[in-house]
Amino acid sequence: MDFSLSTEHEMTQKMVRDFAQKEIAPVIKEYDRKQEPVPTSLKRMGELGILGLCFPVRYGGQGMDYVSLGLACEELEAVDTHLRVAMSVHTGLCSMTLFQWGTEEQKEKFLTELASGKKLGCGAFTEPGCGSDVSAVQTSAKRDGDFYILNGEKMWISLASKADYAMVVARTNPDAKKPSAGLSSFLVDLHSEGVKTGDLHGKLGVRAGSTGWISFSDVKVPVANRIGEEGEGFKITMAGFDHGRYTVASGATGLIRASRDVSVKYALERRTFGKMIGEHQLVQQKIAQMMQDYEIARMLYLKVGWLKNMGERSTLATSYAKKFATEASFNAANEAIQIHGAYGFSDEYDAERYLRNSKGAVIYEGSSEIQTLIQAGYALGFREDKPLRCELPAYDEAFWNE
């Protein structure tokens, strides 16, 4: 077993780190305070190829593997969660889903625009009335000749007001025996007539990112934009979560690291009772926990990256990685605040932002409760990986770089 990263991986990590540290770290507090998206983030991530990191060059991507995607997410979220959220929705939920399920024509047309960063994508599943229970979505898509007519509303959609395309799950068959069998997936052009989008305000975290809503009112979506077959929408959405959750897991790992780093720094500066606080065992215990959690979270997501490279299903491994890393990142940020004492309570320091940003990931892309059900489902034999009609292509260096 080889645990080492390749030179390519290490250089990718450094490049993404340098970008985030140099361009985003200096301004993040300002935008987070103003609750406004950092205006340059998406543009720069597109220009630098980060948004299309793991796709074949032939589809406008950068030809790197899936491990590189995880490493990039770790670096991005170590600076701010909004950067990684863009990867989760644009790269994970939208582009990777398209890469897995799209026809050759769809990949040539849409993936090329998305992977090259010319267009932005998002994933629109949640609605005002349902989140965890995707099979309950109400947005409808009625076939009308060469089009589907979409009606409904999506809520809590990251990049809703910024994206050009949304991967949408909608109900095409209200009479299906199983509600989940009545769903289909569509790549909807958000510039179409009848689409409205807006931003949500007053969020606890990811304040420098955009989270919003999309409403569809008699939106005509060409049949050519249906991803997969009619009735495959639930499977496609779940498969897409495998990709999104991988980016959430690797990103949360970066957040643990960030909490650890600020904690170590502060523990070596602040003195109480005649000692550096880092010399108090109770402070050491908190830092040791962050060290250990970082290491575990990293191993878990790297394994998922490896499984993806091999072309193997990673639903369970992804669930472990996502649940562990997001919960550990919340705990790490919480303890980082504790180590900073009152200063941790102030937005002069980073720890409070880490805590606010960490909480969302314990909820979105399958809450911790849903992850627990998935894991128990495998253990008890209620769930198993059945072959999918389309699998995410295994990383093939030659094909990727042709």
Partner: protein
């Protein structure tokens, strides 16, 4: 135009360097391309983009320095060469200049050699001028902008006091400063190319030279004296009073 960019590998700027027994150590901090040399690579790539041609990254150092060369490749250099030989012990700036000046003619057809203004480790900034001297080429130092036209290089030298424009015929040695522009990030295509690159290694025999004898040797290496600092918080009723008390203190301490 064939451009050489000379780069060095140094400990990361965040590394905590400690001196012990006359040697510097920096724990497990990574070794990186000298940050000033990233500007040199940027300057060289800008010239390639303006003039066409190629950029070759050249480094004198141990085998591990190939990592720094890979960074230059990933940024967009066309090829890289490492000068390395087990027979090389401590090399001073003059020795480095002699070795680089032996490698440059071997590459052949070079019209410009670009350096960063200094290194982060030894920081003498001397190798640049010494290389120019050994090559017998003019030196255009502290360039914030470079323009090549009709076999002549014109550079804008940037100082705190102002700017100066000077020119010299090619081939020439140029050292660049930050005003040349922020170094570009490696591209992913560059990263893939760099990680697969087999970097040729030239020995002393390849260069047809013997190990240069240092003319400057390091007699001692000491840590900076630990600072004896006391902290005093000045209080007062009003900001004006605090400012007055602070000014008095500063004057009494003869800081100003």
């Amino acid at each position: 135009m064939k451009i050489i960019v000379c780069i060095k590998q140094v400990p990361d700027s965040e590394a905590k360097v400690v001196a012990a027994d006359g040697k510097a150590s920096w724990g497990d901090a990574p070794l990186v391309i000298n940050p000033f040399d990233e500007y040199a690579v940027e300057g060289a790539l800008q010239q390639k983009e303006a003039q066409g041609g190629e950029v070759i990254a050249l480094c004198l150092g141990p085998e591990t320095a190939k990592e720094a060369l890979k960074h230059a490749l990933a940024m967009g250099s066309d090829s890289a060469i490492l000068v390395s030989d087990p027979a090389l012990g401590a090399v001073d700036s003059q020795g480095a200049a002699k070795l680089l000046a032996a490698a440059i003619p071997k590459i052949g057809g070079v019209e410009m050699v670009v350096f960063g203004r200094q290194t982060l480790d030894d920081g003498t900034g001397l190798t640049i001028a010494q290389t120019a001297r050994v090559l017998g080429w003019p030196l255009l130092s502290f360039a914030g902008a470079i323009k090549v036209d009709g076999g002549k290089a014109t550079v804008e030298r940037v100082f705190e006091e102002g700017k100066q424009t000077i020119s010299a015929s090619l081939p020439a040695v140029v050292s660049v400063v930050q005003s040349i522009g922020e170094p570009r990030y490696p591209s992913f295509m560059g990263i893939r190319k760099a990680s697969k690159a087999v970097i040729p290694q030239w020995s002393l025999a390849d260069l047809g030279v013997t190990a240069p004898t240092p003319v400057v040797t390091r007699a001692a290496l000491d840590n900076p004296p630990s600072r004896d600092v006391t902290c005093e918080i000045i209080t007062g009723e009003t900001p004006a009073q605090i400012a007055e008390a602070l000014a008095e203190k500063i004057l009494a301490e003869k800081v100003l």
